[in-house]
Symmetry: C2
Subunit: 346 residues, 2 copies
Amino acid sequence: MSLAQRLGIDLPILQAPMAGVQGSSLAIAVAEGGGLGALPCAMLSPEAMSDELDRIRAKTTRPINVNFFCHLPPESDSACDARWHQALAPYYAELGLDIDSVPAGLGRRPFDAEVCDVLETLRPEVVSFHFGLPSPTLLERVKAWGATVLSSATTVEEAMWLEANGADAVIVQGLEAGGHRGMFLTEDLTTQVGTLALLPQVRAAVTVPVIAAGGIADARGVAAALALGADAVQVGTAFLCCPEATTSMLHRRALQSEAARHTALTNLYSGRPARGIVTRLMRELGPISALAPAFPLATAAIGPLRSAAEALGSGDFSPLWAGQNTSGCREVPATALLRELASEIS
Amino acid sequence: MSLAQRLGIDLPILQAPMAGVQGSSLAIAVAEGGGLGALPCAMLSPEAMSDELDRIRAKTTRPINVNFFCHLPPESDSACDARWHQALAPYYAELGLDIDSVPAGLGRRPFDAEVCDVLETLRPEVVSFHFGLPSPTLLERVKAWGATVLSSATTVEEAMWLEANGADAVIVQGLEAGGHRGMFLTEDLTTQVGTLALLPQVRAAVTVPVIAAGGIADARGVAAALALGADAVQVGTAFLCCPEATTSMLHRRALQSEAARHTALTNLYSGRPARGIVTRLMRELGPISALAPAFPLATAAIGPLRSAAEALGSGDFSPLWAGQNTSGCREVPATALLRELASEIS
């Protein structure tokens, strides 16, 4: 059985779950188009997740991929917070904000028993994870309703670990990919590998199917990934300008501008490295900073800056997530994009 | 006319010029196998280059690619040298060497009028450059004997610059590639892009043919690059263990070990970022260090450490250049490797 058959989809194309820039609408459109639509849940409460899944179920009978982060929530560290606030203080002053009233807030919720309780009643066909896998107990519960489990690997070692620990297929996340790196066995960014180099090495190291992600933005990219031995591809960035995405106008404009040619991995927005278009914040503090609190605690103090700047039409403090190939970003319906992506599959 | 036809080769496969690990033997084998063999000249005197080209001409009538660096030699900076020597002093002490007797030496010679004088009499069919292009006067002399001129681009901007300034085809050097980054319009490593993402963007931005380099190590990689729109591919790392290469035993063993899974960009060995297997020196000083003198001046003080350690069987201080995909490194004749690489070209 091919991976697409196992996933119950017509096209070997997965839409990458992208928390903060899409919800049920994009997932429904992709599912109806024959790909695997995804609902990112890292920034949703269990209630909001349940509502979004109800919306999806009302609109499509196709399988769906529900995505979670599975990090360990860190201890808050007041000395670290103080250094972070000090680094951001000039920006707070510039925008007339009070650095002493930064709201608390975790920013992203990991997959846990409470979420699993809700999910169990909804039984999504595919459950995918970023940053490894949840505890064996939780993973067993997910598998018990028959879900296919996916997770991202950024190195050969991570792919082998995921296979050994129960992933049914591995998403091979090349360095080109936008958003958060799925890395979980290392924090060393020099270990991160381009898609063209990583995919064949993972393919040789594991027996589960492999899904290529990172840098794929058009039909030729899809054909190239399949030629390389991928069982399917995952595309994120190219969907960001579809009308079904909730990407902000500011983010959409950036994606379709020259600025999108220069992305970098940054930990400033969340505490973990993620790829986005280079912003003023990244230029001035350096994209990777030891000052940023642990994931996802860095997010809280960025929020007010982002909101205030965006209200002035500026993306100086916004996480403008994007991969290294934004050439596929156009304002076309997701189904049309999906058809284009699939047009050179033989 | 296809690029392969213009270059006069049967297969759309270029052997990457790799200074220090290969000479005429590999170039001859690749040329006779139907690919484009290359002679790297950055570390050769004009006399040695002339001898090597004579050897090539005696063995094959196929076209050959002669490769040069075209950096501006930097001013030596004694304060910088002193800091660099201080950083290396503990290693000199450990190996019983005298840090005050570091030999002078530029390490790499850029393409210049004297080299061009010699080359003009030998009229190689293809001349390729790294770090941009030589002066318009020198470039005109090269073109006057009918040579096809290639150069490497690591960004869309560099590809456009190369086309505008006379390159006949552009080598698209993805982040996965081993050895020196060809970057010349920027020193910002965050601008460097994976092959799968960079190739289609360069292809859309220039009209000259594009050659994919970085991460290609087997027939599927070649097929993928061609599916992506490349007119040809350039393969380096996979040739390093061929008997025709001059790669040291130590380097060969590293390439075929688990250590090869972790490469990084480092400026410690030459002053410019280049990709190699992570060594003790890279781990202890950090792979990118502000202490390293400008290219190619960092090389001089590394030389004695490298020689002394290699005599003890250690690669702690050796530049073990390698790309991010060493899975193609096997001890097979270059012609056999070439046949394999070409086996999925339709």
